[in-house]
Symmetry: C2
Subunit: 350 residues, 2 copies
DNA sequence: TCCCGGTGGAAAATCGATTCATTTTCCCTC
DNA sequence: GAGGGAAAATGAATCGATTTTCCACCGGGA
């Protein structure tokens, strides 16, 4: 005996068949219409659209994904969502994605490689079309999982030798040179650097660019004045404390990111040092907060919007143009100094 | 003539058939094993699991969703991802969700009703199993779209008369009473309130609780001292400026959220007022930053972790226990004062 | 010897779309 | 009016799982 035909429950959502029936066309035509195929006449297209409106029909993306192989979902993995840099980045990435009909899957690794592996797995299970890995380092192990399955990825500050991988490089050098130049012009000679964790490629690049800028300004690097911190507020406080232990102290501190700089501001305050009169501080990122610290932070701007757009474009290129062997796979994002009030002439120059 | 059978491309991902073949069982058994059916013996189950491992098989969630009707995706809609309160909330929500095998879809409305509608639509298209609407107001129009299609939702601070909707209420009253009490104990009598935008239910609740606390402390409310701001840094600055225009000024300011309070800190600094000596400031939320402002902010803590967990539990209850007519549909999250250094005795009391 | 309950298998229906191969429609020309 | 060819619309296979139905097998009890 044939299986009993299932009656449709009353509250059933309209599917493509319902639309086809309502518009008196085949389901193939409905599908074509929705996908903007040129093979549908104006007249029919209109009729189908009306039926869609009338029924308040939403296509089932899962069914769509199953057959087409594309999910129209992009993943974005960030290092730490509690660092304001990243929400701003996610926001821009989301806007770019949604504008082109992509959905995004966000996750944050907190610099834990295990979490990163889990993220990659989650992305794979949901069949993302591409992943922006915005962790600025530590990403090696995860790459294979994704690229081996043919998922395009884009990395920040890290080149991978895989045709499916693109890279976004930051031109820190320009911004950092401007910062050093700014300090030198104010009269500073003793400049310290609070670096980020060495596990991050970006932290190392920033530090190297700082060294280069110091050298090209003809300034000597005091050995104790480059300290590895962890890019957090607490880390900035700790870094300052460490700097403060030594007898000779810098008159200016450049930090690997804004959070560190804000930590320094806090620590300096606790030690009774006035910024910028007793100490100049420069950050890097220019998060929204930087304008509202006390005093407002002089910092090197790294645009989240630019970075997000570059990441999205890199993925889109891989997706739309994957045949092309001469695909652009490297992108550059620039930086520049924003002068506010945390920098001034050093005390000695008064 | 039948369509030509398609050969499998070499690099094909393993599917359930491949696993079945590798484990020498039927696909039904593989499915049963993965879904923890009791009809599979220990022995076989182990064999299947091994095959899954060996092939590095990942089930296709889209295929699964299509037939089962459940996507195991939860949506979370926040007001503004650039306010650090929300990333911290998302982080906790994500952890809870991922721990139970759910994926999450994040989006941020920026208080724009049109964006909210788009978000709802995106969630619907992706067939989310439930949505946490953490916008603290403005949500009416969107509700129908979701609940009408049977998607459970949980709202912050807003009750809806729908069996699919749950609510999380914040007990601001306790924290705000503590704050007023703290100020009164320090000697303050003149206390202003920088409210949030009246479009937000939470902002109105907070304001009302402030009024109530003032009254129960026997303090008079100065008419010009309740000002509507917008919960941003800039808004805090503007609010302070407005307060400052009048001849009589408060000795303490309570703010509807931390961002506003941080804006006030900044504005006070620009006007040469020292906090807390000249002016006491209290925030609400206790975002991570609050500990690192200058001076560290006294604030009313509203735990993101508690809120996220409540939101997740509310949805899970709706999902797992949807038959139950006596479902818990209201949850309460508490608040409490955290005293740091932005409050002290008023100048006159010195 | 027959039957029975408990396991697991094989096969088919289903979910809701896309898309290929095919048929139908329509228009133009001779 | 027939024939040809492009354009428009259709039918059916397909994606990868879940789930149901029916069946086979095995050991044990009556």
């Amino acid at each position: 005996m044939p299986r009993k035909a299932k009656r449709k429950p009353a509250g059933k959502l309209p599917d493509i068949r319902a639309v086809a029936a309502a518009a008196k066309v085949s389901i193939a035509t409905v599908s074509r219409t929705m996908n903007g195929s040129p093979l549908v006449s104006e007249r029919l297209s209109k009729r189908v659209m009306q039926a869609i409106q009338r029924l308040n029909y939403l296509p089932n993306t899962h069914a769509r994904t199953l057959v087409s192989g594309r999910s129209r979902i992009l993943g974005i993995i960030v290092e730490n969502i509690s660092n304001p840099f990243f929400p701003e980045l996610i926001q821009s990435f989301e806007e770019a994605a949604v504008a082109r009909g992509y959905e995004i899957l966000v996750s944050s690794t907190n610099s834990d490689p295990n979490v990163l592996a889990t993220c990659a797995r989650r992305m794979l299970e949901r069949k993302v079309d591409g992943v922006a890995v915005m962790t600025f380092g530590e990403e090696e192990p995860v790459l294979d999982q994704l690229t081996h399955r043919g998922v395009p990825i884009v990395l920040a500050e890290f080149k991978v030798d895989d045709p499916k991988a693109s890279t976004i490089l930051m031109d820190y050098s320009t911004g950092i040179h401007q910062a050093i130049r700014h300090l030198v012009d104010l009269g500073h000679r003793s400049i310290a650097f609070l670096a980020g964790p060495h596990s991050l490629h970006s932290a190392i690049t920033r530090e190297n660019d700082f060294r280069a800028a110091m050298e090209s300004a003809g300034l000597e690097l005091h050995k104790n004045w480059i300290i590895e911190c962890d890019h957090t507020l607490k880390g900035g406080v700790a870094g300052f404390d460490q700097l403060n232990k030594h007898a000779v102290r810098p008159t200016a501190i450049v930090c690997s990111n804004d959070m560190t700089a804000i930590g320094v501001l806090r620590a300096a305050y606790m030690h009774g040092l006035r910024v910028p009169n007793d100490l100049s501080v420069i950050g890097l990122d220019d998060i929204d907060f930087a304008e509202f610290t006390l005093p407002p932070l002089t910092t090197i701007r790294l645009s989240r919007a630019d970075l997000a757009r570059a990441a999205f474009d890199a993925l889109r290129l891989q997706l739309d143009d994957s045949g092309n062997p001469r695909l652009q796979r490297e992108f550059l994002v620039s930086t520049s100094l924003v002068v506010r009030e945390s920098t001034a002439a050093p005390p000695s120059a008064k």
